[in-house]
Amino acid sequence: MTNPILITGCGVVSAIGNNKAETLDALLNNRSGVGELVYLKTEHKEFPVGEVKMSDEEMRKLMNIRDNEITTRTALMGMIALDEALKDAKITPEMIPNIGFISGTTVGGMDMSEQFYLDYVNNEKHKEYIAVHDCGSCSEMTAEHFGRFAFVTTLSTACSSAANAIILGANMIRCGEADIVVVGGSECITKFHLNGFNSLMILDTKPCRPFDATRAGLNLGEGAAYLVLETEESAIKRGVRAQAILTGYGNACDAFHQTASSPDGEGAYRAMQEALKLADIQPDKIDYINAHGTGTPNNDLSESQAVKRLFGENVPPMSSTKPFTGHTTSASGSIEAVFCILALQNGFLPVNLNWSQPMEDGIVPVHQSVKKDLKHVLCNAFGFGGNDSSLLISKPEL
């Protein structure tokens, strides 16, 4: 790509921290945020989850939400991450009308709808929440807290939503539609998808073990993260530095099954290959891969195949950070992109926690803390339905 796309700021909230500093500390000290269900009211207490360690009330207080203003958990987490991202990139309120906002979510306001559904059907109670059920309204609720953005839209591709939001933002900048776009995603845990995933029998009642021979499923997580994408010209004019560069990205469809990944990981392979091609970077220059690595028997095998097809004998260090946060579904693409940025900035490889036994035909992940100078990293996000995306993030040239 001729004109680099800079990442000039980012913000994140997940089970391992309410901001970047807490997140970095957890990653460096191998401290997982997955544990017993505390906030979500559900019968299924048997599943470990990665909840954000704040109640809706606590998040409302943190963001100074007025008493008469309604919110949903996904929007609240989005606001917290967006707040940090905007401050990180030194974006002031006057700049907002010239900035785009692209968010990824699948549940939207479902945390409220699932509680009030019978009221929606049978009576007039809680009807003010009807208008905030859908994905787009959730993005608008998040964005409105900070001002009137130039454009707002919402992607919903399940677990690759946030990654695809990042890709759209990059394409918009390359077309000259905007100089600055804030991109990412947010998703809270809901009874709807906890039960949905359970009905598919892909949840583990123990902490997940991606790429391990004994892996038995995923743990759900929640969180939000946003990146500020910006042209070099705009950054120089504003006097802000790049934290990282988005050098490549790819999106391909597995076109195999609505929930399972193909045995040879075709979609994943094509997405990663496209990212490398766009960045004009050879496979041997990749220093680390942040895997999608959910810990399901299916994903980890499929992803391993795709990676081996692309890198041959020389698979770079690779790990899944989902044992830290759980699978944050729609937000995972941007949350894990922030982990990649932190890894680039601080020179370390995030550990694939809970791993002890190599799986058959799989990759062996990073399982011990390692300090390493990183230049180019790949970040994978694969969604249900074979919506596979990959981001290539690089350290800025000094």
Binding site: E43, S113, V121, A150, S156
Partner: protein
């Protein structure tokens, strides 16, 4: 940034009007009830009976319109499949929510869940057409289709793709119609609500196309000044508006089009197709078919006395979804 020539090669629909054809131009189905479901074709040419049995209507319609649109485009395959859906797969979401609310958290159906996620539509079309290309779903209320269209246009301008299947799919059950009406999101005043499945194929070559896609823009809560500045690039003889029977929305359409486009002739389509989150996709379909046919049916004119047999050379589709999200799509014969 070099502007690439982009053409609408084909556009197919299943809606409250006769499906997969343009009968609405001469014999529109007239509706007196405020909520109507689509007229469905037989799906046996598109989906095997075994698959169809477990497939919701929104998915069947997406497959049928997609396959028809690809066939009509003359292309063997498309480089990208980009879909917009405002509310996603409502029927399956409803089944799952009902079961969750009434029966609790045991014994829930995986099929309902699997087919309830918004992106299941786009991915199923890819599975059915064996397409590994770029595949993305937008879910942003009344600009979901528009967002999908924007993505296709951006990527074609960047030269990343030369063709795209752009879809807009929404369904509406009686239960959800009542919920959305209660929530003030649709069905206000004289508005007729319907369902819409639209598949449009875009390409870079003009052979056998329906029309040219000249310009596209999406805005969030723009000021009138901002709109005026943008409108300068979207001058057209005919403006296809989303006038629907919602009094507040209709008044806004009349006021804005007058201020932005002066005396351009106003058209409407929701009086026969109904309001849905995907109706902007129907708008693009309607405009494209009119340009190809070389005629705008008299019943589309907001002011009947303006109806003319003159061949239209351009139509602007002007969408101001919920008064906040604007899109302008300029098509040329």
């Amino acid at each position: 940034m070099m502007k690439k020539d982009i053409y609408v090669l084909s556009a197919k629909q299943i809606s409250v009007q006769q499906p997969l054809c343009e009968d609405w131009m001469t014999q529109p189905v007239d509706y007196q009830t405020p909520f109507n479901r689509s007229i469905d074709p037989s799906f046996k040419d598109y989906i095997s009976p075994i698959e169809a049995r477990r497939m919701g209507m929104i998915l069947k319609r997406a497959i049928a319109t997609s396959k028809e649109a690809i066939k009509a485009s003359g292309l063997d395959t498309v480089d990208a499949i980009i879909t917009g859906t405002g509310y996603g797969c409502i029927e399956n979401t409803e089944f799952f929510l009902e079961a969750l609310s009434k029966d609790g958290e045991q014994m829930l159906s995986p099929t309902y869940f699997m087919q309830s996620t918004h992106n299941t539509i786009s991915s199923l079309v890819a599975i059915q057409t064996k397409n590994h290309g770029y595949n993305v779903t937008y879910a942003h209320k009344g600009i979901s289709f528009d967002s999908a269209l924007q993505d296709a246009v951006l990527q074609m301008r960047l030269g990343k793709i030369n063709s795209a299947l752009v879809g807009g799919h929404d369904e509406l059950t009686p239960t959800f119609y009542n919920i959305l009406k209660k929530g003030g999101m649709m069905g206000q005043d004289d508005e007729m609500c319907g369902e819409a499945a639209v598949s449009v194929v875009l390409g870079t070559k003009s052979d056998n196309c329906l029309c040219k896609l000249v310009n596209f823009k999406m805005l969030y809560k723009p000021s009138m000044d901002k709109l005026k500045a943008i409108a300068a690039d979207f001058k057209a003889d005919y403006i296809l508006t989303g006038i629907s029977g919602n009094h507040k929305g209709d008044e806004a359409y009349l006021k804005e089009t007058k201020e932005l486009f002066g005396d351009a002739k106003l058209l409407k389509y929701k009086h026969i197709f109904g309001e849905s989150f995907t109706s902007s996709g129907i708008g693009v379909y309607v405009a494209a078919q009119c340009l190809k046919a070389g005629k705008i049916p008299a019943h589309l004119f907001v002011n009947p006395q303006e109806a003319t047999d003159k061949k239209p050379s351009n139509i602007l589709i002007f969408n101001h979804s919920d008064g906040n999200n604007y899109s302008l799509t300029l098509l040329e014969a």
